[in-house]
């Protein structure tokens, strides 16, 4: 593909691109470098060491938060992937009463700001626990379970969007062929449909995992005493100031998300070898939503 722009403009475009990449990567790179700094003061470079990584692994609060994060993310991802995939199939393949309402309802958690989502769920848990105590006398509190319930609430929609994109480009004659060969619905689904949408399902699951591991705002609102996740714990530390320990934890979190990106890119690559549309173009979600 040749563009109709000339040399001078091309040079400016190239320069702009370099500057944007420097802007995107320099802060992350510096953070990684400083995490290997053996000084109590973040700004002063002394010598390279793994000291802060060692301290991180012996820090009980950090390790506890990390464990909570992993439990929450794994459970929320599994549940939201199953429910979200079913939602995608139902919205993409069937017509029924209330489908339009569900379609809109499923898009809202993506568009709504996370502060609002956090407020909604805080009030909801507070109110429903109050009612439950009034009726049954059992008093529930917030904790890991409420965090998991909240994460599933926002993850379902994201999983559904990614799986729907995959279903939309699906060749339905393959399913018809299976039916012609006397496969029943269940068999057709597991032998034909599911393997074909699997990259979408896996992509949705990785997106859910990433969102769950990243979330600060919603989790902060619905977590109880002693049940914080790693991002919420780090957020609390960051507000008090910058420490080399946070640098080390940050780098570990960064590596985790980069591994996840690598996995999703690998999974989502189409036959053309380019990243799939649904990961490249988050705007497509909005175009579809209206």
């Amino acid at each position: 593909m040749s563009s109709p722009t000339r040399g001078g403009v091309q040079k400016l475009l190239g320069l702009n691109a370099i500057l944007v990449f420097v802007f995107l990567y320099a802060p992350i790179a510096l953070l990684v470098v400083f995490s290997f700094n053996d000084n109590n003061n973040v700004g002063i470079w002394t010598e390279p060491s793994l000291r802060w990584y060692g301290e991180m692994f012996s820090d009980r609060a950090v390790m506890n938060a990390l464990r909570n994060s992993l439990i929450v993310a794994l459970v929320a991802t599994v549940v939201s992937t199953v429910i979200g995939t079913m939602l995608a199939i139902s919205l993409e393949r069937y017509r029924y009463r209330g489908r339009g309402f569900l379609d809109g309802l499923a898009y809202l958690p993506i568009i709504i700001p996370d502060v609002t989502m956090a407020v909604m769920l805080l009030i909801f848990f507070f109110q429903s626990f109050g009612i439950l105590e009034l009726i049954t006398g059992v008093s529930l509190t917030t904790g890991l379970h409420t965090i998991i319930l909240a994460h599933i609430a926002f993850n379902i929609s994201f999983v559904a969007v990614v799986v729907r994109a995959r279903l939309a480009q699906f060749d339905r004659s393959l399913e018809e062929a299976a039916a012609d060969l006397y496969a029943n619905r269940w068999r057709t689904f597991w032998k034909v449909t599911f393997p074909l949408i699997l990259p979408g399902v896996a992509g949705g699951a990785l997106l859910a995992l990433t969102l769950s591991l990243d979330d600060v705002v919603v989790t902060q609102f619905v977590s109880g005493a002693g049940a914080t996740t790693l991002p919420v714990y780090v957020f609390g530390l960051v507000r008090r100031g910058v420490t080399p320990l946070i640098n080390a934890v940050s780098v570990v979190m960064l590596i985790a998300s980069m591994v996840l990106v690598g996995l999703s890119l690998g999974l989502q690559r189409g036959r053309s070898g380019r990243p799939a549309e649904e990961l490249v173009d988050p705007g497509a979600v909005f175009e579809k939503a209206t």
Partner: protein, 293 residues
């Protein structure tokens, strides 16, 4: 499947009904979950915004009133609102100005280079937001890298941290990929023969861009702007880490109503107002985008 007798309209209708029932059954888990954990909470926030407070600050679901909405017109609240709105607008504008040529550059490379550049944009896009914001806190502090460079060059120590500029930098940094990716998708889809046709008809490069390329990439501009504007307006993490006491934005103001001030009705009203503004902005922007298409 057994095939007995002719296919009557009744049979067809029954099959269709069964099919739609099946679709509904498959949607049921998500339906129930979203109604219970999303629709009901949404309605609850609305209800709470009309509630009153007891002397101790507890929310009382009696004496329904409009006090919380009246307080939205308080000069202090309007100031916070305007500050957030402006900051979100400036963030969106800067992101758009930087991202358009950037996305254009990527979209017009050869396939191999294009994919590499695209992945390089996606890595920060999917990386932990908190960590990326924190990186700027390290950079912008009094003994941060930016200040040290300035001092090494013989200048004054710069302190950007805890100002509006710091929040602006953080927002641009956080949401820039949200603008680049939809723009890229729109420009990449573009039919270049139309641009060539314009050139054949003696349009110069600028005119061809203004009259053909830009209008055709408008869906990307619209989607990118919404994707940046909405989270910027409700931003909480960025101002909490990079902003100061004098740069309170809507996001942290709402949070403080729940976690510090314990004024849930007012916090609910604020949340609803933010949501309304966002929906209006989205609809307005889509209308505008549709007109230019």
């Amino acid at each position: 499947m057994s095939v007995e007798g002719p296919v009557t309209p009744e049979l067809e209708r029954a099959a269709k009904k069964a099919e739609s029932r099946r679709g509904f059954r498959i949607s049921l888990p998500a339906y129930v979950y979203l109604v219970f954990f999303f629709a009901v909470p949404l309605v609850l926030v609305f209800v709470y915004s009309f509630a009153s407070r007891s002397a101790t600050g507890r929310t009382v679901l009696r004496n329904w009133n409009l006090d919380s909405y009246e307080r939205l017109l308080d000069p202090l609240v309007i100031e916070i609102f305007m500050r957030s709105f402006l900051l979100a607008l400036v963030t969106t504008a800067i992101c758009l100005l930087v991202s358009y040529p950037f996305a254009y550059y990527i979209a017009t490379r050869g396939p191999a280079l294009r994919n590499v550049l695209l992945v390089l944009v996606m890595i920060p896009f999917w990386s932990n937001f908190l960590v990326r914001t924190y990186a700027w806190r390290v950079l912008l502090g009094t003994d941060g890298v930016v200040s040290q460079i300035s001092q090494a060059l013989g200048g004054e120590p710069i302190r950007v941290l805890f100002t509006n500029s710091a929040v602006l930098i953080g927002l641009i940094y956080g949401f820039l990929p949200f603008m680049v990716l939809p723009l890229y998708a729109a420009i990449e889809r573009l039919d270049w023969s139309l641009v060539e046709a314009a050139r054949d008809l003696y349009a110069n490069g600028w005119t061809a861009f203004r009259k053909v390329t830009l209008p055709l990439s408008m869906p990307g501009v619209v989607a990118g702007s919404i994707l940046v504007f909405i989270p910027s307006l409700g931003a909480y993490v960025t101002p909490a880490i990079l902003g100061g006491a004098r740069t309170v934005l809507l996001g942290d103001y709402i949070v403080s109503q729940f976690l510090a001030a314990r004024n849930w009705p007012f916090g609910s009203a604020l949340s609803f107002a933010v949501m309304a503004v966002m929906l209006l902005a989205t609809i307005f922007y889509f209308r505008m985008g549709a007109k230019t298409l």
